[in-house]
């Protein structure tokens, strides 16, 4: 609870600081607020507090809060001069991101369906605005509108699902619903099943899993890159935490019922994400499609439910988040310099900025899943989990997709190292350097010594 309060208070303070034109103070206030909430995450560890039966701050919630807060912190470090070009009122953007984060904390810790809905809505409303902050940019407007329409649409599914489940069980409380399923396993109300399917669809929309992914590429491409970073890392992680809390725990007794549609979603997601990413010429759009395919790998954790499912998602999400932050950070710098985000604009980067190129290479290797990076451990855990149930064909299918992944992630490496390019040298501001170094250290550390995170939850 203290975490949410800290974040919300920080958001309000930032808003007021903006009112008094204290521009220089915005970032420090935000960072301090986020650091304090990280401290609260650490101190609440193992306490497992429940608040009014609405939210449960168990280790699951805390671990995901920690990762999302850390990811947001890194993204804030990247804001240097980023919004200044668009508007005078940076404080509002900061506040919106912080409010979205508050919604995310609710999403990862809800114990009641209504809180799930509230969390998602708090987050989404902020994001609708953030996607469209470039008021004069057509793509940004399009992204915002598309995201809003699709988001509202999917919320409809979600709400309808919640309603049906309420109708069947008479409760919003996750534990009560779970007990209902266990207690009446033979006589579950027929309303319950469509409820589960509708919620599956609603949440698939939110995490951008195919075939409900159509909004992702356009929104990711149209939104300002920094907001895209936030959406594709922090927001996605939160979406999966919400997914997991519901399906891995509450709906677990109905696993046999929702597994076939889930497997279908996984396969389509992997296939569409990977194959479409393969044909992209634009780095940002490639990342958008690849984020769809990562959603596919993340859903693997729901295919076989085990005690490790939550932890596996945590590892994968951490690997994916930090590697993506690196990719987007470099993209922002390249785009500021060259004016476009095609693969070609990375040509010859290694010669001018060897360290930046090296860091981006490690990030790409991690996203592709090469050993000694966090991404490999994440993929390995997912494969291991599914192999445990001997779903060999599913794993083989995923491996073929991973192979396709190598191809498009290496495109940028090829551009940076093997192609001659323009002679512009990127200036890497100090804060960017810090983010890049921290992220790459985390990526390598988790890849070499993942024991620290394996038994966290």
């Amino acid at each position: 609870m203290n975490i949410i309060i800290t974040i919300t208070v920080t958001a309000l303070v930032v808003l007021y600081a903006g009112l008094f034109k204290a521009k220089k103070a915005l970032l420090p206030i935000t960072l301090i607020g986020l650091l304090i909430s990280l401290v609260f995450v650490a101190t609440s560890w193992n306490t497992n507090q429940t608040y009014f039966g609405m939210m449960q701050m168990d280790n699951f919630a805390l671990a995901f809060s920690g990762i999302t807060i850390l990811g947001t912190l890194f993204i804030f470090l990247l804001t240097q001069n980023y919004f200044a070009a668009d508007s005078e009122n940076i404080a509002e953007y900061f506040t919106l991101i912080l409010f979205a984060l508050a919604g995310i904390i609710i999403m990862v810790s809800y114990k009641n369906m209504s809180m799930l809905f509230i969390g998602i809505e708090i987050m989404s409303v902020c994001l609708y605005i953030l996607a469209g902050i470039r008021k004069s940019n057509f793509a940004s407007n399009e992204a915002s509108l598309k995201y809003f329409l699709m988001g509202a649409f999917s919320t409809g599914f979600l709400l309808f699902g919640i309603t049906l489940i309420y109708g069947a069980t008479g409760s919003f409380d996750l534990e009560t619903i779970n007990q209902y399923l266990v207690g009446n396993y033979k006589s579950i109300s027929p309303m319950f099943y469509p409820g589960v399917i509708l919620m599956l669809i609603g949440l698939s929309f939110k995490v951008g899993a195919a075939p409900f992914h159509f909004w992702t590429p356009d929104v990711y491409e149209g939104a300002p890159t920094l907001i895209t970073t936030f959406m594709s890392t922090v927001v996605k992680t939160a979406g999966f935490a919400a997914f997991l809390r519901l399906f891995a725990d509450t709906f677990a007794p109905l696993h046999d019922f929702w597994l076939p549609p889930l497997i279908a979603i996984v396969c389509i997601t992997l296939f569409i994400g990977n194959v479409t990413a393969l044909f992209q010429k634009n780095f940002k759009r490639m990342l958008a499609y690849s984020s769809i395919s990562h959603a596919g790998y993340l859903l693997f954790s729901l295919v076989t439910l085990s005690a490790n499912s939550a932890n596996n998602v945590l590892v994968y999400a951490a690997a994916y988040t930090f590697a993506s932050i690196i990719a987007f950070a470099v993209l922002i710098m390249v785009k500021q310099k060259t004016g476009n985000d095609h693969f070609d604009s990375f040509n010859g980067l290694a010669k001018r900025n060897p360290l930046t190129a090296l860091v981006l290479t490690i990030a790409m290797l991690s996203l592709a899943g090469i050993p000694l990076t966090a991404g490999f451990i994440g993929k390995y855990l997912m494969f291991l989990n599914v192999m445990g149930e001997y779903q060999i064909f599913l794993v083989a299918f995923a491996i073929l997709n991973a192979l396709v992944g190598f191809y498009y992630y290496f495109k940028v490496i090829v551009a940076m190292y093997f192609k001659e390019g323009n002679e512009v040298e990127l200036e890497v501001p100090f804060q960017y350097k810090a983010v890049l170094v921290f992220s790459v250290v985390i990526t390598l550390f988790l890849g070499v010594y993942p024991s620290v995170i394996l038994n966290l939850i």
Binding site: L365, I370, P371, L372, Y380, F383, L384, M387, G388, I392, V395, A396, I399, A402, L403, F406, Y407, F410, V414, Y417, F418, K419, Y449, P450, S451, L454, N455
Partner: protein, 488 residues
């Protein structure tokens, strides 16, 4: 003493780091690092008791929750490959001395980084560690070939990379399967040896592993990446690929395929042998028609590796021992051949056989040393190639006489195309291009002399090497046959 192996594995990594930071002096730093590694390896050989036990064992818990240990050790089979790696790396670095590669610090650092990965592969007793080493050796060579390679390097190396990674991902699938079958839930090689898998399971595992290894070697029909990659790679890259990297595949078969899935080998081994033999004949015929000397050597390498692979799958001591010594000899000879071609192409900018000729007159030292290397490659008695191929043919002969007849073609074919190449390049009339040729000097001479010395010494007195691996090889064969008889 136990720490010697750790030092051997991690010293190149340290060397790579220092090399990367040392700017223009990079090649010297790299050479020093490689020579220290060689000294360590030789020290290890001296302290190695040539019996079937695994020595210098290190075993640390690494990722406890997943049953992964840093478990490595050396037996006779590993010893040969360790020697091969540590002898060839300094030679390859020295062979690159004359080139002025841009950002040479990265170039030499990558070579040393790869050395670390290779040593992990050759000593690992934990399947997960083996996989890590397998990939860790691939990444640097990809960058070496794709940054410093020829015109078509990007496309060609992408193919190479995707090919190998495809193989290794299916191997990973096999490893995970074995891990899940293992009641102790770890990746220990001994536990994998003791698994009781039925023959259908073994068949699947066999193919999952074999394809990964076959792509690396390469065995027909998984070889299509190889000629282009060899041709487009910089000289050092080609030497690393042909000299050391393909031995990863051979070593993998010996260490991870035969003892884990003996029934799989019994059921499918003949397919592997037939593919190897097809590869020998096919590659030899193509080698005949090559106009580019580098491509010719690339194809000849497929033929030679085919014979090694056939010898291993014959599953007898002679074949296996032949494979051991031939791994070493082939590594030395192929590095020598590619080095000679590199010397020629760096002077004349071409490797097309028809444009060359009469170099012997201009460069007698190069001609003599190249002749010795060619003789070693075509397995003339008294050279290192002879012992290996002789034992391999004997092994294959015991398996099946007809297969041995076809396998024997390697030697005949090899002699024909190798001598023809030598004749057309070195002998004959000097032409306008080759008239400018200057003889080898400095570091080039050193490398060529060392290679020739190794060829002759190993050819005349191969006993120490054969002794090194004999007990381990016999132990392995016994282990496999025992497991087979207990199943039947």
């Amino acid at each position: 003493m136990e720490q010697l192996l750790l030092l051997l594995i991690f010293l190149p990594l340290l060397g790579a780091l220092v090399t990367a930071l040392s700017g223009n002096a990079a090649k010297h730093v790299a050479l020093v690092s490689a020579i220290v590694s060689l000294a360590l390896a030789l020290g290890m050989v001296c302290n190695f008791t040539p019996d079937s036990t695994t020595q210098f064992v290190v075993n640390y818990s690494w990722i406890r929750d997943l049953g992964i240990n840093f478990h490595a050790g050396v037996d006779g089979i590993s010893m040969i490959t360790i020697l091969l790696t540590n002898v060839l790396i300094p030679l390859i670095i020295l062979a690159s001395y004359q080139h002025n590669y841009k950002s040479s610090n990265a170039f030499f650092a990558l070579i040393l980084f790869m050395q670390s990965g290779l040593l992990v592969v050759f000593t690992s007793l934990d399947a997960f560690l083996f996989y890590i080493g397998w990939e860790a050796a691939l990444i640097p060579i990809y960058f070496i070939c794709a940054i410093w390679g020829g015109k078509d390097r990007i496309k060609v190396n992408m193919k190479f990379f995707v090919y190998t990674i495809a193989g290794s991902l299916f191997m990973l699938l096999g490893l995970i399967y074995l891990y899940l079958q293992n009641p102790a839930h770890n990746f220990d090689i001994q536990a994998f040896y003791n698994l009781n898998l039925d023959s259908a399971q073994q068949g699947w595992i066999f193919w999952a592993f074999f394809i990964a290894f076959a792509i690396k070697m390469p065995v027909f029909p998984f070889h299509t990446w190889q000629p282009n990659t060899y041709t487009e790679a910089p000289a050092a890259g080609t030497m690393l690929l042909a000299g050391i990297m393909l031995k990863m595949g051979i070593y993998g078969v010996i260490r991870w395929l035969l003892p884990i899935v003996p029934s799989g080998v019994q059921d499918w081994g003949h397919v592997a042998i037939i593919l190897s033999i097809i590869g020998i004949v096919y590659a030899s015929i193509i080698a005949f028609t090559q106009k580019d000397a580098k491509r010719l050597v690339a194809y000849s390498s497929i033929a030679h590796v085919g014979l090694i692979s056939a010898g291993i799958f014959a599953l007898n001591t002679q074949g296996m021992q032949g494979a051991m010594i031939q791994m070493l000899s082939h590594g030395i000879n192929v590095v020598g051949l590619f080095f000679v071609l590199d010397i020629i192409s760096s002077r004349l900018k071409t490797n097309r056989i028809s444009e060359l000729g009469g170099i012997a007159k201009q460069a007698p030292v190069l001609a003599i040393t190249a002749l010795i290397i060619v003789l070693g490659t075509v397995a003339l008695p008294g050279t290192n190639g002879f012992i290996g191929e002789f034992l391999l043919l004997m092994g294959v002969y015991q398996y099946n006489i007809w297969i041995a007849v076809f396998a024997g073609l390697t030697i005949i074919f090899g002699a024909v195309y190798m001598f023809r190449m030598y004749q057309n390049i070195m002998l004959g009339k000097t032409n306008d291009l080759t008239i400018t040729f200057t003889d080898v000097q400095g570091s080039e001479k050193v490398v060529l002399y060392i290679i020739c010395a190794l060829i002759i010494v190993l050819g005349i007195y191969p006993k120490p090497i054969l002794q090194l691996s004999e007990a381990s090889v016999q132990h392995l064969i016994e282990q496999v046959t025992q497991k087979l008889t207990s199943v039947n």
